[in-house]
Point group: C2
Chain length 240, copies 2
């Protein structure tokens, strides 16, 4: 009975924090009667402190009449997850995020409450941890986590902020597509490249692509596919 | 008595493999009387096999009258490193490269021969492993190595393929500079952003920036600095 929003980014170019998601998000929060959200600030974008990141998020959710508490404010973070009405994991650095989650032994409790139906919102790094592991993050490995294993709330990996190759680019570093192809040399997990503005609406067994953009689906040994909005990823018979 | 060339990239846009480096490189190989080079193909760019990668490299070094053997052709890779006249580690995926080096316990032997003066050429991933750890790679973490620790042949980290922010870019993923700033939230190691076409010429205690482009130096708690070609990084009194 999952109830999730798995978003490529928190913010669109020129828009406010979570602005493009707010209409959809506020409906879902209301439908689930959520008055309080547990925020996981561990990804610390730009090195922002847990307190400052939580304050930024609190201000946005106040407009939706939802109270926000940072997980770092609790003495027992496992209990905080078990007791949460809803959970939001914000973006930033995925390595720092998964390091903290493993160090505090929060990956399994998180997975458990998600499958029990506790509402979960992830943006960027917070969406990476919905997949089977963090091996398709774009982030720099600024810290070494004990494990790359993620929650497995989805049976595939996300590549957030998915970027198409830039035509005429003279830079010799790998394109995003080349990087995901390298992932498939060593892994058989499908990868969904979510462009900025796209998100996956997970309700029970359905996993619907939302937003106006297509997503790009990568499977080991297959040509990449463009996926139309409103497609249910759960019906695609993915090649695991 | 180090004797190294640490390059941002193997290939410039529109150029052949190692082409821009060849004039400088062939002089250094001749000066050190190197007739045979040990190639480390573990980074496998695009998933190329060890044999195919080694063949590609062999063809280029033949024009410099240097024979190339792949480390995977040896029964004892540690001995292969200890016996090598010179070593080249090619680019590709840094996580796969460092995983193989740790799995085969080659990091310490590699460090040892480099400090003993065995010639070392690194490009891209092969340059990442010259730093203290691989935490400033741009690569996707497609496999999980046992450790991010690298050789420490240099007392700072390299960020190869360094890219300046693209003006007017509407993508919301982090710029390279933002990523390296995040690195400095958790680490105090200086980072040298090497633009494509730049390399560091290491001879004994000197570490000279070569090529026509400036490099960008990042230190924890300091503003980034542009470094002119022909600067000796070893004289910069870096903030460790």
């Amino acid at each position: 009975m999952r109830n999730m929003i798995v978003a490529s980014t928190s913010t669109l170019y020129g828009g406010g924090y979570l602005e493009y998601l707010t209409p959809f998000l506020s409906k879902r929060l209301k439908a689930a009667s959520i008055k309080e959200l547990l925020f996981i600030p561990f990804a610390r974008p730009g090195g922002i402190s847990h307190d400052d990141y939580t304050s930024k998020v609190r201000a946005v959710f106040q407009t939706m009449h939802v109270n926000v508490k940072g997980i770092h404010e609790f003495e027992d973070p496992i209990k905080a997850i078990q007791d949460a009405q809803g959970i939001f994991t914000g973006g930033g650095n995925t390595f720092q995020l998964i390091k903290m989650l493993h160090d505090l032994q929060l990956v399994e409790p998180l997975r458990k409450v998600i499958y029990q139906g506790v509402f979960y919102l992830g943006t960027s790094a917070g969406s990476n941890i919905c997949g089977l592991n963090i091996r398709t993050t774009n982030d720099m490995p600024v810290v070494q986590p004990s494990s790359f294993k993620a929650t497995g709330a989805l049976a595939y990996n996300i590549n957030p902020h998915y970027q198409d190759p830039i035509e005429g680019d003279q830079h010799m570093g790998e394109t995003r597509e080349q990087r995901i192809n390298e992932f498939h040399i060593y892994n058989h997990i499908p990868v969904i490249g979510l462009r900025e503005g796209s998100f996956i609406d997970v309700q029970g067994t359905t996993e619907i692509l939302k937003g106006t953009l297509k997503a790009r689906l990568f499977q080991a040994g297959k040509a990449p596919m463009e996926i139309e909005p409103e497609t249910d990823f759960a019906t695609l018979n993915l090649n695991h």
